[in-house]
């Protein structure tokens, strides 16, 4: 499904080059759930931005379903089948939640469908559907709407950047169920960037990114077995639990 070959990305910091992503290669198979984890500032979100085209890699290649998308811009990657849920979603003055969901779906969604999408992320649809997706909504509410937008359309592969951040425990439980449904019933390929134990435990495979490199990668059993509590994975879970 997704194949990433030798991806590199460098930025200029105080006049010096700093490597943010360093020779990263990995694959996500059809219907696979890959959880990317690792310490803060390790390059996880930057990697996601490189995948969806918000940033352009210095070198390396990206293939989606056999089609090379390395030179595609953001919208072409989206139209090729990549979905993305932002860690900090933007607000839109004047745009209703219903309109935003329809834009995400690429077609006008009937109100009951919008309601179902909102209920799935723990929002009372009646209260939110006609509200504006603006500063009147809290960070947690916006985050859940963001996840609903990513779920409004079927993708070949959908990337969620720290979906647990800013979400209360009750909604998080519902969210985990939605990811399980997306993964097991719909068989979508998914990448979730997360520090959360329950999400990590859902993974088919886990990849740890540290200092811009793939430090470890393997199936869930291999990765979780025998990991000491001060390992990068467990350390992160302790720091930023939901």
């Amino acid at each position: 499904m997704l194949k990433v070959e030798d991806l590199n990305f460098t930025i200029l910091e105080e006049g010096k080059e700093k490597k943010i992503i360093d020779s990263v290669s990995f694959e996500v198979a059809d219907g696979e759930l890959l959880v990317i984890t690792g310490p803060n500032g390790g390059g996880k979100s930057t990697l996601a931005k490189l995948l969806i085209g918000v940033e352009n890699a210095d070198s390396g290649r990206i293939f989606l379903d056999g089609e090379e998308i390395t030179d595609y811009d953001i919208n072409h990657r989206a139209n090729a089948g990549l979905g993305f849920a932002f860690q900090q979603p933007p607000r839109f003055k004047g745009m209703t939640v219903e309109k935003l969901l329809s834009l995400a779906a690429g077609k006008a969604l009937p109100t009951p469908v919008c309601c179902k999408l909102l209920s799935n992320v723990g929002l009372c649809a009646k209260e939110y559907i006609n509200r504006q997706a603006d500063a009147t909504l809290s960070g947690g509410e916006m985050k859940r709407i963001e996840i609903a937008t990513a779920m409004a359309k079927e993708h070949k592969l959908c990337i969620f950047d720290e979906p647990e951040a800013g979400i209360d425990l009750w909604s998080f439980t519902m969210l985990v169920k939605q990811f399980e449904k997306l993964h097991k019933e719909k068989k979508e390929s998914i990448i979730i960037i997360s520090h959360q134990e329950r999400i990590i435990n859902m993974a088919d495979r886990i990849m740890v990114i540290k200092d811009g490199k793939v430090e470890k990668s393997g199936n869930r059993e291999e990765m979780l077995q025998g990991l000491p509590m001060d390992s990068p994975v467990c350390g992160c879970m302790e720091q930023e639990s939901c």
Binding site: V54, P90, F92, K93, G94
Partner: protein, 307 residues
Amino acid sequence: MKLEEAEKSVLDIVNGEEFKEEGAYNVRYNGQALCHGDTEHVKIKKKEGKPGIDVYISGETKGERLHIPVVVSVSGMTDVVYNDFYVEDGAEVTIVAGCGIHNAGCNDTRHDGIHTFHVGKRANVRYEEKHYGEGEGTGENILNPVTKIILEENAVFTLDTSQIKGVDSTNRKTEVVLGRGSKLFATEKLMTHGNQSAVSDMEVTLNGEESSAQIVSRSVADGTSRQTFHPRAVGNAMCHAHIQCDSIIMGHAQVASIPEIDAKHIDAAIIHEAAIGRINNEQLLKLRTLGMTEEEAEAVIIEAFLN
């Protein structure tokens, strides 16, 4: 007189829907009344001595819509019209106005609509006004509306104005005087592009105890266009007022926002907020991850912002 196809299209745009000769209506076309209709509770009378109409809305009116669109298609014409609305106590009415210019010539075409609303006690009025210009000519499309609103005790007035596109120059003046317990909800939406200019002066005087006003201005300025907003709220009694001006600036446009609040009573609570900025890059990125081009994403953001 009969409307050509282009003029009919302009009429439908400013009317917000296909215009129909139903209910209470008055169509002004190139400086003259084209047609008009009354209802049991809404009577329209031609003014004596100057151009325009007097509209009498009885207290029995509940939920009626009155349509008074204007179309000007003669290049070089200056059309000035005085419309007065007398809304009786307890009436509930929506008034849909608007002016569209189709200028196919090389001379400037101008319409000045001078509207005065006398709104009785407990009456509830919604006034929608759309301005639009088009035409392949080189002459400018100019619209200079003047709107005066006097609200009596516990009256509610919703003012919803929008300049859709194609208006080269506008100089808007709005004056509202609020009596005891009355409420004003004013929303002004403006889009300018090319070399257009827009000036809007709005003065809201809150004379009555427990009166309130909410004034929202949303604008988008593109190209080399220029916009100036000057909303002013004066509190002469225990009252509440909130002015909010938001503008998106694009290209080489210029936007000046000058909200003014003036409290003349110790219990007058008046707030103003003003913000001008370019389209947020995060918004563009989000919409592009949904498959839109940058241009499509900009159009969606602007449409929502002016919604």
